[in-house]
């Protein structure tokens, strides 16, 4: 191969790459809607979150899309990096919708990736504070100046800041040890951290006898849970409002089904698709002051508005985002409004105020 050939090949490859990148920006004719969902390799099968499973079992969305000649594709996302992977997918136009956390959505929009909250809701995971089994600490106040394991940048960072603030503490009063959940659990077991702030994997630690839960968000305002809800890519929404309406309606149908007390047990069962034991799912949802039905509320009520207002302020102050963001621009309420006109759904959920 001559040098000229070599250079030409190199240039060609570069042009192709940039062309491919440019192509990702152009909107293709709509053949398929892509929804990102957290997936797990569980017992040789790929498991999904309970929300996606409910929607999938319903089958209504697939049927409606099929009538219009459109397919539905679930794009799997690794539980190890949900926020970044979904944001990258939104940025390069490889996904159209995603049910994921509130903080990553704020980060995306502050970085110029335009997305909109299409359907609020999702169960909202509780957050937990775990200490080593032999620890004498009884509350976060006893942990002043101590080492607390937390995976920074994940959506449960915001509830943690709320817990600190409610007890008159700030991030400076504790020593944050940045560890991913797997390493955090090992650190707790070895006693090299004094506490670990995490999600319902806290029960697994308690069951193994290496930790005990001294606080959870069940008795607090629902604002202290980690929110996860349906977001859409703005360019897609603008281009295909009809399809977006279908997606939104399907999600509200699924929320309506899940919110029925009668379906609660079945919902738990679907949640174990991630490989988490049923006993943990049951405990995660037991003894919570937030009514079961409210967990799935798709309303853009004052509660939701205040949540996003406060979280954007937190993100800006904590240096998580580096640009101002008007939280009101994040909501596109058209689709929920239209879906709730259905007499079967109208008035099912009541608006909440912040507590």
């Amino acid at each position: 191969m001559s040098f000229r050939h070599f250079l030409l090949t190199l240039l060609g490859a570069a042009t192709l790459t940039s062309a491919a990148l440019a192509h990702a920006e152009a909107a293709p004719p709509l053949k398929v809607v892509r929804i990102a969902t957290i997936s797990f390799a569980n017992n040789g099968k790929v498991g999904h979150t309970a929300e996606s499973a409910v929607l999938d079992n319903d089958g209504w969305l697939q049927a409606e899309l099929k009538k219009r000649g459109i397919g539905l594709e679930w794009v799997p996302v690794s539980p190890a990096a949900v926020g970044p992977q979904v944001n990258e997918g939104f940025a390069n136009g490889r996904i159209d919708f995603a049910g994921y956390g509130d903080l990553p959505s704020i980060i995306a929009n502050a970085s110029g990736i335009q997305t909109r909250l299409i359907v609020p809701g999702g169960p909202g995971s509780n957050t937990y504070l775990v200490v080593p089994a032999g620890s004498a600490a009884k509350s976060i106040k006893d942990l002043k100046g101590k080492r607390i394991a937390l995976h920074r940048g994940r959506p449960w960072e915001y509830p943690f800041s709320k817990l600190l603030a409610a007890n008159g503490l700030t991030f400076n009063d504790v020593k944050i040890v940045n560890l991913n959940p797997q390493a955090g659990a090992a650190a707790l077991a070895s006693g090299s951290v004094d506490a670990f702030f995490t999600l319902d994997d806290a029960y697994l630690l308690a069951d193994k006898g290496v930790g005990k839960i001294i606080w959870d968000s069940k008795q607090s305002s629902p604002d202290w849970k980690m929110r996860a809800e349906l977001w859409g890519r703005k360019a897609f929404i603008d281009q295909y409002p009809d399809v977006t309406q279908l997606i939104a309606t399907a999600h509200i149908r699924a929320a309506h089904w899940s919110a029925q007390e009668a379906n609660r047990k079945a919902y738990y069962q679907l949640a174990t698709g991630s490989g988490i034991p049923l006993s943990v799912v049951e405990r995660e949802y037991a003894g919570d002051i937030t009514p079961w039905k409210d967990r799935f509320s798709p309303l853009y009520d004052t509660f939701l508005q205040d949540h996003y207002r406060d979280e954007v302020v937190y993100a800006r102050n904590a240096g998580v985002i580096h640009a101002d963001l008007d939280y009101r621009t994040l909501f596109d309420t058209r689709f929920v409004d239209a879906a709730l006109k259905d007499p079967a759904l109208a008035g099912f959920w009541a608006a909440r105020r912040s507590q």
């Binding site: 390799a41 017992n43 990096a81 390069n92 193994k208």
Partner: protein, 254 residues
């Protein structure tokens, strides 16, 4: 190296692993905290039976192996080509060498955000990571091998008035083959490890890396261990197979 190992010597070789395993089992029963990472054997055994019976382990392993082979193939072919070009053309080496050597120093994990952004977070991203892992060692060793063709061989070649092309095929390439195989061995090891890493990094789907990640998320440490053992054993096995193949193919070389 192929010297036969006597039975007493084999037993002696097992002494340290046995001691380590005993230590492990002791740690497992030492405290609940230690039991978190040092899972007792009986629990590992139960986990292994479960992983095999529920059919989780084998399909995942198969998916990872297939992925590794595909990535290894792409990376090796490209690596051979790139190594060849860099070795045969001083100009190409001077022009592209710096970039190649700087790029290969960037940890594959560090590319994850950009790969995700440019190529998505699914199969192409995983294949890219595995191919890159295979590409680097193959390129390097091909380059070294082609460079090291002994000068007396080359002199002989010019004596016979071989064209540059003939010289490459008849002299340089055969002389470089042992190096190329060393490169392939390294590539196999790296491709296998990075296949697992890529499965943990980029979305779920069948694969031993995904299986390990799910087990980690759910704190099933015995399953994590079984995955680690499987990964290590497969690595060793593939290494052995390639060594044997290389020895057969290169028998004429000595």
């Amino acid at each position: 190296m192929t010297a036969r190992v006597s039975w007493p010597d084999r037993l002696r070789g097992l002494a340290i692993p046995a001691a380590l395993l005993l230590l492990w089992q002791w740690a497992a029963h030492h405290s609940t905290a230690y039991a978190y990472a040092f899972v007792p054997f009986e629990q590992v055994w139960r986990g292994a039976v479960q992983a095999l019976e529920s059919g989780g382990l084998l399909p995942n392993l198969g998916a990872s192996l297939a992925r590794t082979c595909a990535g290894l193939l792409i990376g090796s072919v490209l690596g051979l080509a790139l190594g060849g070009v860099l070795a045969m053309s001083t100009l190409a080496d001077k022009l592209a060498g710096t970039l190649f050597h700087a790029l290969r120093q960037v940890p594959l994990l560090a590319w994850a955000p950009l790969i995700g952004l440019w190529f998505g977070n699914s199969e192409p991203a995983r294949l890219l990571v595995i191919s890159l892992a295979a590409l680097y060692p193959v390129t390097l060793n091909t380059f070294e091998g082609l460079h090291q063709a002994e000068s007396r061989h080359l002199e002989l070649a010019s004596l016979y008035q071989l064209t540059a092309w003939q010289q490459f095929w008849r002299v340089r390439l055969p002389a470089a083959l042992p190096h190329v195989f060393t490169g392939l061995m390294h590539a196999l090891t790296f491709a296998w490890i990075s296949a697992v890493g890529a499965e943990m990094l980029f979305s779920a789907g069948p694969g031993i890396g995904s299986m390990m990640l799910t087990a980690e998320t759910n704190q099933q440490m015995e399953i994590v261990l079984i995955c680690v053992i499987t990964i290590s054993a497969m690595g060793t096995l593939m290494n052995h197979a390639l060594t044997l193949a290389a020895r057969r193919l290169l028998r004429w070389h000595r």
